[in-house]
């Protein structure tokens, strides 16, 4: 019986890590765009959906091998992010916060509509990246895809850290985030960095979708809930903080799945948003951010 309890706990934790990683990827993309542009991008979930759908189309439709489909669709969704910026955000003469939020909300509905036209209402699913039987660990068993999901988050966050701390472009981007005016006075072309941030935001979001496509399935409106949870994760960790995004995502995923496992599945979504409310009451700046600004 003890063994059973142990395997249960392991199962819950891995389920939590999986969904937490996806939330983390959404939150990372969200922060990426927010940091450079102060745009609260509510269409981040749609990038996730587009990533999954594009990859499935390239792999199943055009018969491209999985790694090629993966790289190609990451780039494609990144480019959609850029187009998103060029045609929706940039033409704004007076970008106020409310206007920007409404615009991204509209864009999210628009992207869903386009996806509905292209892919229809049916759900799509991808095969696991590596043909493998399910893994057994301490009596719990799960899809090998989980390792990919967790790996992607680790690799993405490490390379982001490296990019921002160690490279010149990364440092310049941080400068844009701190103070765009001063940055442009220092000779940094802020507009270019906005484009880069949208590219990266789209690409990371898309990557999240590609990672869950083999575990779950994707429908044209499947990104919205993920986007919302990712947003919650970003707030939980502290808006704008990259380590915060990862930790917020993982904490949220674990909370949800432990609540499902040990309390009741009715509480799954409740727990996520309860955590969000609590953090907003107690520490509005989020888990990983100091209270200043």
């Amino acid at each position: 019986m003890e063994n059973y309890q142990l395997s249960l706990a392991v199962q819950f934790i891995f389920a939590g890590l999986t969904s937490g990683s996806i939330y983390a990827l959404v939150a990372l993309g969200f922060n990426m765009i927010y940091n450079v542009t102060r745009v609260v991008n509510l269409a981040q979930g749609e990038f996730l959906m587009l990533g999954a759908m594009t990859m499935i189309s390239l792999h199943a439709g055009l018969k491209l091998p999985m790694p090629v489909a993966l790289v190609l669709s990451t780039i494609i969704v990144g480019c959609i992010g850029v187009v998103f910026d060029r045609f929706i955000i940039r033409p704004l003469k007076k970008p106020t916060l409310l206007l920007l939020i409404l615009l991204t909300l509209g864009a999210s509905t628009f992207l869903k509509g386009v996806a509905l036209l292209i892919w229809g209402k049916s759900p799509y699913s991808a095969p696991t990246f590596v043909e493998m039987k399910s893994i057994s660990f301490l009596g719990a068993s799960f899809s090998p895809q989980i390792l990919w999901v967790i790996g992607t988050v680790v690799v993405t966050s490490c390379s982001l850290w490296f990019f921002f701390e160690k490279t010149f472009i990364g440092k310049a981007m941080r400068a844009c985030a701190e103070n765009p005016r001063a940055a442009s006075l220092m000779g940094i072309d802020v507009k270019n960095f906005v484009t880069i941030s949208f590219f990266l935001g789209g690409a990371i979001g898309g990557l999240g979708g590609m990672m869950i496509a083999p575990i779950s399935f994707m429908v044209y409106d499947g990104g919205t809930m993920m986007g919302l949870k990712g947003f919650a994760a970003a707030v939980l960790g502290g808006v704008g903080s990259y380590p915060g995004a990862v930790i917020g995502g993982i904490v949220l995923g674990l909370l949800e799945n432990l609540a499902t496992g040990y309390i009741s599945s009715f509480f799954k979504d409740t727990i996520a948003f309860l955590a969000l409310l609590l953090i907003l009451f107690i520490k509005p700046s989020g888990l990983m951010k100091r209270t200043e600004d």
Partner: protein, 390 residues
């Protein structure tokens, strides 16, 4: 002035020439047409149900009129689309009863719209036949009827199959929506009668991972899993189910009898995927001695010939619904809207009426579906097709 009169007279003449052509043959034949209202969800989100249903109803009307109508009265369909919108379904029902004077109506494709049309049918004392499997037509003095074997009959079919296979411990995973709620209530209630031990968990229809629930269900070492959900979420549950190495039968609801379900499960099919359903789905597999095989084949052939596609289960339910209505109109000798109140009590007298769905319709005052457990059958998905479960 004179010119005007001539032109006017010309129009008059023209009108007399054209009018008879444009009228349905009924007026020419002499006897007035009997009207049946068709209030279906042919657009909107339930259009995938409404479309085949409308086609089947039109096919039957054509067949009836080709063979002389209802005692010489031609059958006329009054067709309105409710756009899968409850409000529209209600106004459509009012319009067809008050303005178009229908004698009975087929309304509607889903529970939400049927529930909206129900009070209108009740107030106007006009029979309505719903095509929704989870709509509740049985209540005192009801003017509503509905297609499909009710969920209780479907669950009994599953449990009979379990009894045959010696399955006593069952894991139950139901969605947090209305379908899941119904399945949860009925499966747990019926389990007591069958002496089946149940462990139950719930999940959200948009969950992407149900491994925590499945892990907990493992506790009773189940011999079968029942998944109370229709459509998409089955893909997630089935994936997790396979990943966790379950080898037990995977049973899901009758709302999944569709090609899109087969497509959904492609590649993630559990080894033993079962669901309760209708004999029609597997009519080609049935013995020639099965009494309804002949009408099943006739319907399937006629539908394919007219629409160049296979009829699905929803088309069958609609076809049966209008067959029952027309049978009642005949038996009650309905001659117009003034007799419409007779229709529902006449349907209640219909017994052993062969169903294209499979089995027979036997209605009564307390049973407005007319189909029983015996009219349902266990199906198995094998190689991307529905088969009779062995």
């Amino acid at each position: 002035m004179k010119n005007n009169v001539i032109i006017l007279a010309g129009f008059w003449l023209l009108a007399f020439l054209i009018l008879p052509l444009s009228l349905p043959h009924s007026a020419v034949a002499g006897k007035p047409a009997l009207k049946i209202g068709v209030n279906l969800d042919t657009t909107g989100y339930a259009a995938w149900l409404g479309e085949p249903e409308l086609r089947a109803v039109q096919l039957y009307a054509e067949q009836v009129n080709a063979s002389g109508g209802i005692d010489g009265h031609p059958l006329e369909l009054v067709i309105y689309d409710n756009q899968s919108n409850p409000e529209k379904a209600s106004t459509n029902a009012k319009k067809m009863i008050q303005r178009d004077k229908v004698s009975a109506m087929i309304a509607t494709s889903i529970t939400a719209t049927s529930n909206a049309a129900k009070p209108v049918a009740q107030a106007e004392k006009t029979t309505m036949y719903s095509l929704s499997g989870s709509f509740e037509p049985n209540y005192p003095d009801s003017f509503s009827f509905a297609g499909f074997v009710h969920t209780t009959g479907m669950v009994e079919t599953i449990y009979d199959y379990f009894a045959k296979k010696g399955i006593k411990r069952v894991a139950l995973l139901c969605a947090n929506d209305s379908t899941g709620q119904t399945w949860f209530e009925v499966t747990t209630r019926e389990a007591k009668k069958y002496g089946i031990q149940i462990a139950s968990e719930r999940f959200n229809v948009n969950d992407m991972d149900v491994t925590p629930q499945l892990a907990r269900l493992k506790a009773i070492n189940p011999q079968a899993l029942i998944v109370g959900v229709s459509g998409k979420p089955n893909a997630v549950v089935a994936k997790n189910f396979n990943q966790m190495g379950f080898k037990i039968p995977y049973v899901t609801g009758h709302g999944n009898i569709s090609d899109s379900f087969l497509k959904l499960m492609e590649g993630n099919e559990p080894d033993n995927l079962l669901l309760p359903g209708a004999y029609f789905v597997v009519w080609q597999e049935l013995n020639n001695s099965y009494p309804q095989k002949k009408i099943m084949k006739e319907f399937s052939d006629a539908y394919q010939k007219k629409f160049s596609k296979m009829p699905d289960i929803y088309a069958v339910v609609a076809y049966d619904a209008i067959r029952v209505l027309v049978e009642a109109l005949k038996r009650a000798k309905v001659r117009g809207p003034e007799d419409s109140e007779k229709v529902h009590s006449e349907i209640e007298k219909i017994k052993n009426f062969p169903a294209v769905y499979g089995g027979t319709y036997s209605f009564s005052k307390d049973d407005h579906r007319g189909l029983q457990k015996a009219d349902a059958v266990m199906l198995q998905v094998k190689g991307g097709k529905f088969r009779l479960a062995r």
